[in-house]
Symmetry: C2
Subunit: 511 residues, 2 copies
Amino acid sequence: MTRLSARRAERRSAAGSGGVPAQAPWRALRNFYRPIEVLSADHVEFIHEASLDVLERLGMDFWSGDALDRLARAGLVVDRANQHVRFDRHWVMAQVAKAPAEFAIQARNPARSIVLGGDHVNFSGVGGPPNCSDLDGGRRPGTFKDFCDLVRLEQSLNALHLVGGQPVASIDLAAETRHLDVYRAFITLSDKIWSPSALGRERIDDGIDMMCLAAGLDRDALARTPMLLSNINTNSPLRVDGAMLDGAVAMVEAGQPLIVTPFTLAGAMSPVSLAGALTQQNAEALAVIAYLQLVKPGAPVIYGGFTSNVDMKSGAPAFGTPEYARATLAGGQMARRYKLPYRSSNTNAANMVDAQAAYESEMSIWAAVMGHANLIYHATGWLEGGLVASFEKMVLDAEMLQMMAEFLRPIVVDKDSVAIDAMEEVGPGGHFFGAAHTMARYETAFYQPLVSDWRNFQSWQEAGSRSATDRAHTISKALLKAYEPPPLDPARLEALDAFVARRKGEIARAA
Amino acid sequence: MTRLSARRAERRSAAGSGGVPAQAPWRALRNFYRPIEVLSADHVEFIHEASLDVLERLGMDFWSGDALDRLARAGLVVDRANQHVRFDRHWVMAQVAKAPAEFAIQARNPARSIVLGGDHVNFSGVGGPPNCSDLDGGRRPGTFKDFCDLVRLEQSLNALHLVGGQPVASIDLAAETRHLDVYRAFITLSDKIWSPSALGRERIDDGIDMMCLAAGLDRDALARTPMLLSNINTNSPLRVDGAMLDGAVAMVEAGQPLIVTPFTLAGAMSPVSLAGALTQQNAEALAVIAYLQLVKPGAPVIYGGFTSNVDMKSGAPAFGTPEYARATLAGGQMARRYKLPYRSSNTNAANMVDAQAAYESEMSIWAAVMGHANLIYHATGWLEGGLVASFEKMVLDAEMLQMMAEFLRPIVVDKDSVAIDAMEEVGPGGHFFGAAHTMARYETAFYQPLVSDWRNFQSWQEAGSRSATDRAHTISKALLKAYEPPPLDPARLEALDAFVARRKGEIARAA
């Protein structure tokens, strides 16, 4: 036991330096479990056929003259007056079949590169909230300082494979040029993969240019080794707006991967029945993916699922519900039906970082991981159905993700691990603390938590009776304090700054 | 929208009467999902063979003269001086094969009867904590009043199929006769299935006699239609004490189902490697089950799994960990290997009802349900690794269980539910709130929460910014206020009271 105590002490001091807790390292994840299937094979085909019926019989609005031109040239029935398209089912399937089942995205730091598709699992930070919150500052509209701090936290949390979209809006920056400041912050504060905003072509083009400068690549080279990822949502039901389509086309033309995510809240933007919401999700995703394959055959795309429901009492969106979990599993089945990588999300509708935030998130995470999502968006920090990025939730989510990552390790079963000799050594009624088998393995045997406190009540109470949210707050502060920016070649930074200055000038002159 | 608003108002008032929230009804659950498998078929066999090796080579302590006699007569190698038995693997397997794969337990209220085995899922309340806590009274040693309130709450929560074991100790009652008061309270306060304590023969015999009086049955009739359930733990590693064995035998002889649950905390009472802990769990469960089949061939028994790990930093037990989740799935695979019903638990090691309590519980619940546990013990109220029964956690768990129950509903996929006509009615860019398809279905379309608050931030803030734990507290109070005891024939109650009085006298005289 003395040897054990000594090692424990060593470990505590290593883990506790500067109050920054030990984290599991950044690690590429594979999912060896069979996916959970909520739909029978017959039901998958039923939804598949129904969604093709929707595209053939009802069609979709595509609010882009460019898109309507291309689709008309491809022989589809286009109603220009109503910006409406009907899709032949065989054409849709032939187009979707051109998309790759699996592809890689390079990070600026090659050790943070990812693969999407197959049994790969990747966690991406929250994107899109207008507000942020922490226990010190409360709930507030996001500023550029908050944005930068959240990106620093995302860079610091090993559980997060990529940064993803903007963790919070920066309302203190000029709207027209905000994306330039934000992209520069992504590139300088993190070496993980980030996402330019697909709201129009200009924002994507700027993002691609800046990534080229940061990586020292030209556009052709970037197209060969994609380094960005973006997402568009449909304007459900059965519509896609022009800005989204233009942004998507700009990504795909530049060879960068794009996620297509219908936003199908059952009872509001899609039918109240889950099968109906899934049919509509599938129709919308297939139509846009088919179109992008027309723009660039073989373009790397991801099937996004975001089917949840509204609370029929209040009309408020509900997340992390049983409906959400089942729709998430079903979405994975549909994506696999088309051999497309699958994106889901870690969602909740809680107004504070409490037990509800945790159980709704767990419902989402389990369904996403066991539905074989390859990319789990909003994996850290999402609160209030996406209206808030929470610093504490970000750390709490990192704990839940780390736990899921550990859950994805197979159990080692062999002569050594079944440990009959250890049982013989210890004997009936003994304990294994000091056994040779234990001593040789205990340091790496078990998951080490980031937030969870497993001390007994008295020790926990003496330490201040702090909740998991309180502890997450302290950890977020410690991580920010210990944060160091990843290295970036000064010449590239200079080029980046020159680009930002030039583009700001151009945008000012155009305004 | 007017029709919808009117119905919403109706529903709100129905749900809100007396502050008691609407709950989903008590409902027998079946699990249509394929179980998640963490072990390959080869690894299941490897652990199976290794555990039979343990029983043959190392054997187990059985601290009961009666058990040693029976096992010696059955031809096993018995070392009486050390109260130790070695088990022939073929004998073990022949015995285990006698146990039924599925059986029913009748509740006093036939509508609360359950089936264990196959794809049935049942949730049972917390059993065993010495302490309880709520936001008003804080953490305290349990009293009989707390015990009764917790049983009332368990009776009131529809998510709970059975009450199970004692939700908290009653330290204000005399230890020798406490079980009599407690059993009387179970019978009068609840019509769900409860568990007598298997700590010795006397406590089981009293429980069986009292259940006979409550149901108006004799012991033979009770043996034909079992109405009780109890649990024993082994004294891991590789030991079972005399009181547990005697209690188990008393249950089995009376035809009542018994759970056998090794308590194999990896690194403490079992090897530090998960495969070793599972091998030991399996060996201990099989040995005791084989013995009980010797006592009464065909006795209904349940394979219990309770493999978690200790925190190697502090030695404290950890629950709801990735190790726990994987061990839970593996335990289900082992139980199915022997065609035995499977018991797991809803666990956590949190010291308060916070996000940690919720995410550790969700890890447990998902693993238990997707590992096809037929009985999930400690499903409501468990806190601090089982040292505390929490009133708020009980309500919060009921929410998580209700959500899981809803998750266990298949998605209806047919012409009506894929709702192409509704999409046609609404059209691109419209909304489904007032659609005919929505109006016909919205009242029952979605899960209705017990604790979750989905209002927007402003409404939630105006209502007091209350956490899920605060809301669970209010709900627990409202449920206790609205509680009414289930009917019991006055003649049976009289007989029960006479029995308790007589037994108290006998026990006092014997002391």
